[in-house]
């Protein structure tokens, strides 16, 4: 039985350690496996590793799953894991290496064929989440091989449910079910994945029957597809948050003027009351309903409920014009001020429309919108990171079980030396929050850590560090009679496709 899927973006390589961008991970998941497996809610459960124990803050012991074979028939052993972890940060020219995942490792020792002892440089409570993201490749098949050998299939040997058959870049990837797979066997024997980046074309491919299933179904088309009784639509909330960042970087903010359009000496975004006021002007539910056709969940913090570190009391702000006006007046802007809303236009669905909608809402909230600008992401990313924008829209996706990495890269104070706050483009800085987060990260007990993360989140959001808007919902379109297990991860995996009655 054959399954034809139409996916929006293509992997850049079959080498699972070459890049950890989403599309590469998606493909890698079909052929390779990791030490742990991430479920729909990104929570971990045993994968190639069955057990892990923390002997002391620096030492871990990991038991591997017995009876697992690679797709070329060789058994899976500790040597493969050691080889894979060692190679993870050494793939030449990798544009997105797994360096962070293995950076805390000091030593990896083999106790027996299925047992490993790991020593870390510093205590790392999240070690297993980190290591768990590295894909395990066969030492025998891959040693001394380059990325190119994976693309040709020679080295593309994993333990996953599907075997690599062929890849024609820009066109399609063909896979075949692996008979010796240890886990639940996939339902479809042959898989043909076509890469169709254009939204309308992807939908047309589904409608014309060229493919059975497509990912990132544009929200505008979802209704149409759902109304057609030959197709069904799956809609799942993701862990990707869309937010409005307000730059506190400099004494003046780019694009910000006074209400008359003249330059403003101060940076109003440095005032937490202004940030809150802006947050109060935005009608998140309206955006979700009108702009996204329901494909979103209004948010009041970084991660959705299912992830660790969620603070249940931080609900999405409801619009309150009077309160916003009051806060603005308190901050010294009774007349409001002028600002420019900037966004990308090709990064996530509806990003350009969102910027316009925000512009409208801020105008109605009493601010003067000097303009709404949208740029292609390649231009936008550099300028946003370089601090050229005052109020700008960005998104950030969750890829781990907890909110820790997002809090660390987005809200922690920017510090080049320490390597924190990599995506803190608005340069929010709260020592109080930084301390709370550090405390949480040092906690080894998962439950306690989640509690501490939630606490840190509360501290940060009391100051409105960003204006959270919504979590995206991702939609898939497929033929009637198919079902897909998908979740926060946004992955579209053939092994998760089933037929239903």
């Amino acid at each position: 039985q054959q399954l034809k899927m139409g996916l929006a973006s293509e992997q850049s390589s079959i080498d699972p350690q070459f890049s950890r961008t989403g599309n590469n991970q998606n493909t890698s998941q079909m052929i390779f496996e990791q030490l742990v497996s991430f479920d729909q809610n990104l929570q971990i459960s045993p994968g190639l590793a069955t057990e892990w124990t923390n002997l002391d803050p620096l030492t871990w012991e990991i038991k591997l799953r017995p009876g697992v074979t690679f797709q070329n028939g060789t058994p899976f052993t500790a040597d493969d894991v050691i080889f894979s972890l060692d190679r993870a940060d050494k793939v030449p020219n990798s544009p997105a290496p797994y360096t962070d995942m293995v950076s805390s490792l000091d030593k990896v020792e083999k106790l027996d064929d299925l047992t490993l002892k790991i020593t870390t440089k510093t205590p790392n409570p999240q070690l297993i989440e980190d290591l768990g993201r590295v894909f395990i490749i066969s030492k025998a098949a891959s040693e001394g091989k380059a990325t190119e050998d994976f693309n040709s299939g020679a080295a593309a040997i994993g333990t996953g449910p599907y075997k690599f058959v062929s890849w024609v870049p820009g066109q399609d990837l063909k896979l075949q079910a692996y008979d010796g797979y240890w886990g639940e066997k996939p339902e479809f024997q042959d898989v043909d994945i076509k890469f169709i980046s254009n939204d309308a074309a992807r939908v047309a491919a589904l409608l014309s029957g060229a493919v059975d299933l497509i990912d990132t179904l544009p929200v505008t088309d979802a209704k149409q597809v759902a109304a057609n009784d030959k197709f069904t639509v799956l809609s799942e909330p993701s862990g990707r948050i869309v937010y409005l960042a307000l730059s506190m970087r400099d004494d003046t903010a780019p694009g910000v003027t006074d209400a008359q359009g003249k330059p403003l000496a101060a940076n109003p975004f440095r005032d937490a009351r202004v940030r809150k006021a802006i947050s109060l002007m935005i009608d998140r539910q309206l955006i979700v309903d009108r702009l996204l056709g329901g494909a979103g969940v209004p948010s009041g913090q970084l991660v959705p409920e299912v992830l660790g570190g969620y603070a249940s009391d931080l609900t999405p702000q409801t619009p309150d014009a009077a309160e916003a006006k009051k806060l603005l007046a308190e901050a010294g802007y009774p007349e409001g001020f002028g600002l420019t809303v900037v966004s990308s236009n090709d990064r996530f669905p509806g990003d350009a429309d969102l910027a316009q909608a925000l512009g409208q809402m801020l105008t109605r909230g009493g601010l003067k919108v000097n303009g709404v600008q949208v740029y292609p992401y390649n231009v936008y990313a550099k300028d946003a990171t370089g601090g050229s924008y005052g109020a700008f829209v960005f998104s950030l996706g969750a890829s781990t079980p907890t909110s820790a990495p997002m809090l660390g890269s987005l809200l922690r104070s920017y510090d080049k030396e320490a390597g924190t706050g990599a995506f803190n483009r608005m340069r929010f800085s709260s020592p109080e929050f930084d301390a709370a987060l550090a405390k949480a990260l040092a906690e080894f007990d998962p439950a306690k850590r989640n509690e501490l993360l939630a606490e840190a989140t509360r501290i940060a959001f009391a100051q409105t560090p960003i204006v959270p808007l919504y979590w995206q919902k991702i939609e898939w379109g497929m033929k009637k009679g198919l079902s897909l297990d998908a979740g926060l991860s946004e992955y579209t995996l053939p092994q998760n496709v089933r037929t239903v009655k």
Binding site: P97, V168, S197, A200, S208, A210, V211, N378, T400
Partner: protein, 322 residues
Amino acid sequence: MIVFVLRRLLQTVLVLLLTSVIVFLGVYAIGDPLEILLPADASLAEKAQVAASLKLDQPLPVQYLSFLSSALHGDFGNSFVFNRPALQVIFERLPATLELTITAMILSLLIGMPLGLWAGTRPGSRVDETVMTGSILGFSLPNFWQGMMLVMIFSVWLGWLPSTGRGETGTIFGITTSYATLDGIRHLILPATNLALAQIALVIRMTRTGVQETMPLDFVKYARARGLSERRILFVHVLKTILIPIITILGVEFGSLVAFAVVTETIFAWPGVGKLIIDSINALDRPIIVAYILVIVCLFSLINFVVDVLYSALDPRIRGRQ
């Protein structure tokens, strides 16, 4: 001839040098590839590591000079995204694009010329009006819109033709091509038509104008006076005369075909360089962009060269001058 080739070669090399500088600077100005390549949760340490491994941490002139020295050895660097030699990535996909553009070119000639001849020999008639009106449609609607309409009509509603991908390919004379299989040809029809529409319109207009301007010339009247048949006059005397401007323009237009292939390939998920280049521009994959444009400049020079040669093959007077 040798002189001609050598002079062109020297000029082309200079153009290539200039182009590489412009593109290098341009890509640098557009954005920072690291911002695009790195995943959202990358740390600053990772960023530094990637910058070092892709040599993006060096000053631009140094990067350019090292590119230049390896380019002289035929190495245009590895793609940032694919980590494969840029030229290899391009040449892997170029055949698909060439297949598409050449098919479009042939379509435009096969459809455009007869229609243009037909309309041109009957200026002011109903046929002429219809053909000319129709040809305006060819270039007045945006390319992507026409493409989507083709998809909606022929593959979604009527279900006659596939709308995505290249289909099965086979080998003819050692060349991998869609022409080898029926499935391949079926996949080729819609995108090639989409690409050809504007060109068809252009060829119609050029041909018609040419016919209109050539028919009153004395040599046509003289050919009639010699008792030649109208068919021979039209297809030998007139056609050979008007072929020159048509071919010249088509040479130039080949460039716009390759350029518009970007849109067509995106809509029809055609695995050609057009899609590659737009993805590469979006990802700021500089080695691919630079190599692609240099390849296109070479292609262009080659085409212009061929056009010039054809030109003199068609018109002996030009041959005399060379």
